[in-house]
């Protein structure tokens, strides 16, 4: 007599330990195999876009910190670029260089978190995660020197940064760069030399570059499929046209490729930082308050500025009606948009890989729900 089997629907999240926040999935399993996925999100919705309509342009910087809370500097950067575009602000060079240093450091920190959580999702019980977090601590210490805050920095302002780096920052930065490079070597050795990691991640959740482009997915996920799309190179903002760096591509478009791209990008970020240190010159870090007052009233109009965030194209769309606060602010959140193909990635894979694939998107619930 043949056994009668039927698929089982399981609710995972929002209180599951590895949903990277408060994500929820209704997953249907046939044995261990995933048959269907229904993502549910919105548990961390704080209405940041609506709140922005009630605040002045310089106050909104603090809101952007809370969106993607593991890469707040990058959020600050995208927002300030949009405001500069809207108000025709010419930023001061030293401020821009500092901004680039800060945002590249933040990119490294964010990639460390992504890599650490890959290993955590693979079941490595915290040790690699803590090693990655230790390196992130280095970077957060640097941020503390820069602006006094570690996570919700609000360091960047339209026109530059709000405070020059203290003298102790530069030697500390030099020291940290060496430390970070060493730990990237360690992490890479662990990633590429470990058979379990390799066999778990190779060939899982493969997406074609066509489907990635059609779903407007950007960032390391897209570059892991071989599409050379990096906004720092395609559409240089700040002084990215004056630094040289390698665009990291991989062709496999599986979980391993995504993490390989992230680990290699950290090295490129280090290179960019050392070039920034060479190029930076003394001067004001932001335009004077005569040029850029605290309360800017841009002309009616709109602006869209996008940067290559740690997770993909991070864009801010601002509409001004001439008042002191934007009429509308919209965020193109890469975390949310990169989740578009979640179902395609998960269906047909095994339960053990579910959270690894989910984590390979490198999403942040603060940014998904905003």
């Amino acid at each position: 007599m043949p056994l009668e089997t039927k698929p089982v629907t399981v609710n995972l999240g929002p209180q599951h330990p590895s949903t990277h926040g408060v994500f929820r999935m209704r997953v249907t399993f046939d044995g261990e195999e995933i048959v269907d996925v229904e993502p549910v999100f919105g548990y961390l919705h704080r209405g940041s876009e609506k709140l922005a309509e009630e605040r002045t342009y310089s106050q909104i910087v603090t809101l952007t910190d809370r969106m993607d809370y593991v890469s707040s500097m990058l959020n600050n950067q995208a927002y300030t670029l949009a405001v500069e575009k809207l108000c025709d602000i010419v930023p001061s060079p030293r401020g821009v260089w500092l901004r680039m240093i800060a945002s590249e450091l933040q990119r490294i920190a964010s990639h460390f978190v992504a890599t650490g959580f890959l290993l955590q999702d693979l079941g490595a019980l915290g040790t690699p995660l803590i090693y990655c977090m230790r390196e992130r601590e280095n970077i957060l210490d640097l941020f503390e020197m820069l602006c006094g805050a570690r996570i919700t920095n609000s360091y960047l302002r339209p026109g530059g940064v709000f405070m020059d780096a203290p003298d102790v920052f530069w030697p500390a930065l030099d020291r940290s760069l060496g430390d970070i490079e060493k730990s990237i070597d360690e992490i890479e050795e662990y990633l590429s030399g470990n058979e379990i990691i390799f066999s778990r991640t190779k060939g899982t959740a493969v997406l074609s570059s066509e489907s990635l482009v059609n779903a407007s997915i950007t960032g390391p996920m897209l570059r892991a499929s071989g599409v050379d799309w990096d906004l720092r190179h395609r559409n240089p903002y700040d002084f990215y046209s004056e630094v040289t760096f390698k665009r990291i591509l991989h062709t496999a478009s599986d979980n391993y490729a995504r993490y390989w791209v992230r680990v290699q990008e950290m090295r490129e970020s280090l290179k960019i930082i050392s070039q920034c240190i060479k190029n930076i010159e003394p001067g004001p870090v932001r335009p004077s308050f005569d040029d850029v007052p605290r309360l800017v009233r841009p002309e009616p109009g709109d602006s869209y500025a996008a940067i290559e965030g740690s997770k993909g194209e991070l864009g801010f769309y601002l509409v001004s009606d001439g008042g002191i606060s934007p009429y509308r602010m919209h965020v193109r959140a890469p975390s949310l948009i990169n989740l578009t193909l979640l179902r395609e990635m998960l269906v047909g894979e095994l339960f053990g890989d579910l959270f690894v694939i989910f984590g390979s998107v490198d999403l942040n619930m603060g940014e998904v729900d905003r």
Binding site: V8, T9, V10, H16, P17, S18, F29, E32, K85, L119, Q120, D121, L122, G123, A124, L125, G126, T127, I130, Y131, R134, N194, E195, I196, I197, F198, S199, R200, K202, S209, E210, V213, N214, G226, V227, D228, W229, K246, L249, H250, T251, A252, S303, Y304, A305, A306, G315, Y317, L350, F351, G352, D353, L354, F355
Partner: protein, 425 residues
């Protein structure tokens, strides 16, 4: 009775100190018992209970030290201090944990099968405790020396997996059921290589009794049976669901698997059972492959056993700290395609050896070690080549800056908007 007294020193020390005028004891020079003659049955029951109590409390004490030690090591591996608040060096942390767990609310899920739900935690702890009854802790100190000791151990340890099945099934929780099914899959797959890995040891020692196996080890069998040790160790790790085979309570997938709905003392029993299984595994590995209580004479034999036990436990913890988890299909593949073949190679080489030298002495064992180590290294290397994941073909070209296989330009243009059509600025 006299035979038992002569061989089992642990039993003799307890019994002869309880019973005053047993003739066997007087023969052996004991004269200060408490219970007078005519009450040998009472002395027997009392000393049996105290022997059982001694072993159980010893194991529980060992578990407390193990929990503390594992967490301290956990901390050291992760650049942390680990628990250090309760007692010196945090040694009382497991006690604090136990007290905390006891005062939690005991939850019974609505859909739970009440009888099985309550039975499962007991089924975890009892078999593991029974395992310790046959393990020789030192020269002449054991509870019983069964003549089928190793078979008994293999049979009893399987019950632990049954308890995981019971727990997962009776919780009425879908995630717990997944965990239960994984546990059964692991049991079926790893019981076979585990049993086969022991065969080499049994052939060399010519006995199934754990005591005789230890006594027959002129050199530790890890030197003679590297493949057997390798397979047995990994299979035992899988059997007790430790990393990298911790599929049943995979924290990042199943939250806690079969433990999801358990709380309070029932959870504590599961926790206890898990750590006791670790202790039992280390004890069996020590007994079978590391020479058990054998060691230079100037230190008591129990100490040698303990030292080897701690060493094996350290390796188990080390595995757990560093290695990620295998996927369920890979775990099963590893058992059937990897470990099974390795045990077969081991059995064949050992069988040929026993055929040539039926009663091996030290010199013959060293010859076998010289043969077995290259065989082990070559066969493990071969299996890893066959089962290992292939590297990407063009990984070297990817490291070169100018050799991108695809680029933005090579994709068909219809995947991109024309420049004028893009929104924004």
């Amino acid at each position: 009775m006299s035979n038992l007294l002569a061989e089992n020193m642990l039993w003799r020390n307890i019994y002869c100190n309880v019973s005053k005028s047993s003739s066997d004891c007087i023969d052996m020079g004991y004269s200060f018992g408490i219970i007078p003659s005519g009450f040998e049955w009472l002395a027997f029951i009392l000393s049996a209970i105290s022997l059982i109590g001694l072993v159980i409390n010893g194991v529980l004490g060992g578990v407390i030290v193990l929990i503390w030690g594992e967490r301290r090591l956990f901390g050291r591996f992760q650049n942390r201090t680990g628990p250090n608040r309760w007692g010196p060096y945090g040694i009382l942390t497991p006690v604090a944990d136990a007290i905390k767990t006891m005062f939690k609310e005991d939850i019974l899920p609505k859909d739970a099968d009440r009888l099985l739900y309550n039975l499962a935690p007991i089924m975890v702890v009892v078999p593991v405790l029974i395992v310790f009854s046959v393990i020789p802790f030192g020269f002449g100190s054991y509870v019983v020396d069964l003549n089928v000791g190793i078979l008994f151990v293999l049979a009893i340890t399987s019950i632990s997996s049954l308890s995981v099945l019971t727990a997962g099934w009776s919780s009425g929780n879908r995630i717990a059921i997944l965990s239960a099914l994984r546990s059964v899959a692991l049991l079926i797959s790893y019981e076979i290589p585990m049993g086969l890995a022991v065969i080499g040891v049994i052939m060399l020692s010519g006995s199934l009794s754990l005591g005789s196996i230890v006594e027959s080890q002129q050199i530790p069998y890890i030197l003679v049976q590297p493949l057997g040790f390798f397979v047995f160790f990994l299979a035992a790790m899988a059997e007790m669901a430790r990393a990298p085979f911790d599929l049943t309570e995979a924290e990042s997938e199943l939250a806690a698997g079969h433990l999801n709905d358990y709380s309070s003392m029932k959870f504590a029993l599961f926790f206890l059972g898990e750590f006791m299984a670790e202790l039992a595994t280390a004890a069996i590995v020590t007994t079978l492959f590391l020479g058990g209580w054998k060691g230079p004479d100037f230190i008591p034999t129990e100490f040698w056993f303990g030292a080897k036990l701690v060493f094996v436990l350290f390796i188990i913890v080390w595995f757990r700290m560093t290695l990620p988890r295998l996927r369920v299909d890979q775990v099963l593949q590893f058992a059937w395609k990897g470990l099974f073949e390795l045990t077969m190679i081991n059995i064949i080489t050992t069988a040929i050896f026993i055929f040539i030298w039926p009663e091996p002495g030290l010199k013959e064992l060293l010859i076998l070690a010289l043969i077995n180590w290259p065989v082990a290294i070559i066969s493990i290397w071969g299996v890893s080549k066959i089962l290992g994941t292939k590297q990407y073909e063009n990984i070297e070209s990817l490291k070169n800056e100018n050799a991108y296989p695809y680029s933005f330009k090579t994709l068909p243009s219809e995947f991109y908007h024309q420049k004028g059509e893009r929104g924004g600025d």
